[in-house]
Amino acid sequence: MIRFQHVYKEYPRTGLVLQDVSLFVAKGEFVFLTGPSGAGKSSLLKLVYMEELPTKGDVWVSGVRAKGVNRKEIAKLRRKLGVVFQDFRLLEDRTAEANVAFALEVIDTPRASIHNKVSRALAQVGLAAKGTSMPREMSGGEQQRVAIARALVNDPFVLIADEPTGNLDERATRGVFQLLRDINASGTAVVMATHNLDLVRRSGYRTIEINRGQVVFDSAENDASKRKVEGLA
C-alpha cells in the first residue's frame, strides 16, 4: 500500500534529509514513526502524501508512483488519504462543521450528501454536539478531533498524522490516541509520527525509528528476523 524503495531526499539548503529509506506499510496497519527532531519524520510523511517527491529512489502509495506523477494525480491521491498535523490547520473563521464540509466541497462532492457525511465524521470523533462551535471556542484536543474528522470524512485508506499530540496535554493526548486506535480498528491504516515514546512503548504497535534521515530500527523487521531465527532453531 505504501512502499519506499531506496528513497533519498535532498533539499538545496539543508542537504540530505532522508537516506536510502526502504519500507512497506500494509493495509490496515498502525505504524509509529519515531526519532529526534529533525530526523526526517515529517519529510518521510510528506513523501507519502506527495507534498515532496524523492530526489532518488521511488515511492508508491496506493498504486500512485512518485516517479513521473503529475499534480492532478497527486490531488486525486490525497482524496484517498487523510492528513493531520500538530497545529491542526483549521480555518479559524468557520465552524467545526464548515471545516469538515470544506474537505468535501473542494473535491466537488454532491451537496446532498455533504451534511450526512459531516455529521457522521463529527460523531465518529465524539464532537457531534460541537458542530457549530468555532475553533477558538474549542480546546486543543477538540480542535485536533475536528482536524481528524476532516481527514476521515472522505473515508481514507490511511490516516497520516504528523505529531498530532504535540500540542496537547496528557489527557487530550490519550483521548486523541484512543481515537486513532479506534479508527485503525475499523480498518484504516494509521502512520503517526511522534515524540511521545511513552505512548509508543505502551501500544505495542509497529515502530520505525529514524535518525539522521535513516531507518535505524523497524520493529516489524526485528520480529521477522526473530521469527526467522526461531524457525531455524
Partner: protein, 282 residues
C-alpha cells in the same frame, strides 16, 4: 461554481479594505490608461478632420473654354481616389480669398486670381504618395497651369499621425502592462491572505483548477469594478476639459465596452499570474 462564488465573497468580506484598495488601484491605473486613450481618440479625430481638408487645387490657364474644363472635371471625377471635383471661377476665388484674408480684402482686384478645379480625395487616399500621384495626373492636362496641394503640409500631417499612432500603441501597452502588474500585485496580497485555505485545499485533494477559480472570479470582478470606476473618472475628466478648455469627444459605446472587457481581461490575467506563481511554489 457556487462554492467558488462563495469563496470569492468570503475573500471580499474578510479583507474589505484590501479589496477596496485593490479596486481603487486598478481603477486609477486604468484611469491613466483611459485618459491617455481619450487624448489619443481626440488627436485622431482632429487629424481626421484636418485630413478631410486635404485637397488638390489645379489652376487653369487663362481662357480655357468651359466645355474643356467640364469634360476634364468629368474625367477627374471618375478617378477612384477622388471624392469630389469643384470648379472655382476667378470671381469665387476672389470672394474666398477676401473672406479668408480679411485684413487684405482691399488689395484683391477682380480677375486677379485664376480659375481652378478643386479636387477632394476619398478617405484612405489622403497619404502623401497618393496625393502626389493624383496631382501629377491632373497636371498632365494641357490647360492646367499649376497644381498645388500643400506638399510639405501633407507630409507633416502624415508624420504627426504616424508618430501619434506609434506613441499611442507604445504608451497604451505600457499602461496596460502597469495595470496587469498592479492587479497581479493586489491579487497576490489576496492570495497571501488566503494561503492557509489554499494549503488546506491542496491537502484534501482540490485540483489546481478548483483552487484558481475563486481568484479568477475575484480578478474578473475587480477588473470590471475598477474599469467602471475608471470609465466614470475618465468621463468626468472629459467633461471638465470640455467645459473649461476644449471640446473633447468621449469614447464611443463600443470602445467603452471594449475598455471594460479589457479591464476584466487584465484582472483575470493578473490573478491567474499570481495564483499560478503561488501554486507553483506550494
Amino acid at each position: 461554481m457556487r462554492l467558488a462564488l462563495r469563496e470569492t465573497m468570503i475573500g471580499f468580506r474578510r479583507a474589505p479594505m484590501l479589496s477596496v484598495l485593490s479596486i481603487t488601484t486598478i481603477a486609477f491605473s486604468l484611469f491613466a490608461f483611459g485618459l491617455f486613450s481619450l487624448v489619443a481618440v481626440n488627436i485622431r479625430k482632429t487629424l481626421r478632420d484636418v485630413e478631410s481638408r486635404v485637397e488638390i487645387r489645379a489652376f487653369l490657364a487663362e481662357g480655357t473654354p468651359v466645355e474643356v474644363v467640364s469634360a476634364a472635371m468629368g474625367d477627374i471625377g471618375v478617378f477612384p481616389e477622388v471624392s469630389r471635383v469643384e470648379y472655382v471661377s476667378p470671381d469665387s476665388a476672389l470672394a474666398r480669398a477676401r473672406a479668408e484674408l480679411g485684413e487684405f480684402k482691399d488689395v484683391f482686384e477682380s480677375s486677379f486670381l485664376p480659375a481652378s478645379i478643386d479636387v477632394r480625395l476619398r478617405e484612405g487616399h489622403r497619404d502623401p504618395e497618393t496625393v502626389r500621384t493624383v496631382a501629377g495626373r491632373i497636371k498632365s492636362f494641357e490647360f492646367v497651369d499649376d497644381v498645388r496641394f500643400g506638399e510639405d503640409w501633407v507630409d507633416k500631417l502624415y508624420r504627426i499621425r504616424n508618430v501619434a499612432t506609434a506613441t499611442g500603441i507604445v504608451l497604451g501597452l505600457a499602461f496596460a502592462a502597469v495595470a496587469v502588474i498592479i492587479i497581479s500585485a493586489t491579487i497576490r496580497m489576496a492570495v497571501m491572505a488566503r494561503a492557509r485555505e489554499i494549503s488546506i485545499m491542496r491537502l484534501v485533494g482540490a485540483t489546481d483548477g478548483f483552487i484558481r477559480r475563486p481568484f479568477l472570479i475575484e480578478g474578473f470582478l475587480k477588473g470590471v469594478l475598477g474599469g467602471v470606476m475608471a470609465l466614470a473618472l475618465t468621463w468626468f475628466a472629459s467633461q471638465v476639459i470640455t467645459r473649461n478648455f476644449i471640446q473633447t469627444e468621449f469614447f464611443s459605446r463600443g470602445l467603452a465596452v471594449l475598455g471594460l472587457l479589457g479591464g476584466a481581461l487584465i484582472g483575470v490575467l493578473g490573478s491567474s499570474l499570481s495564483v499560478g506563481r503561488h501554486l507553483r511554489k506550494v
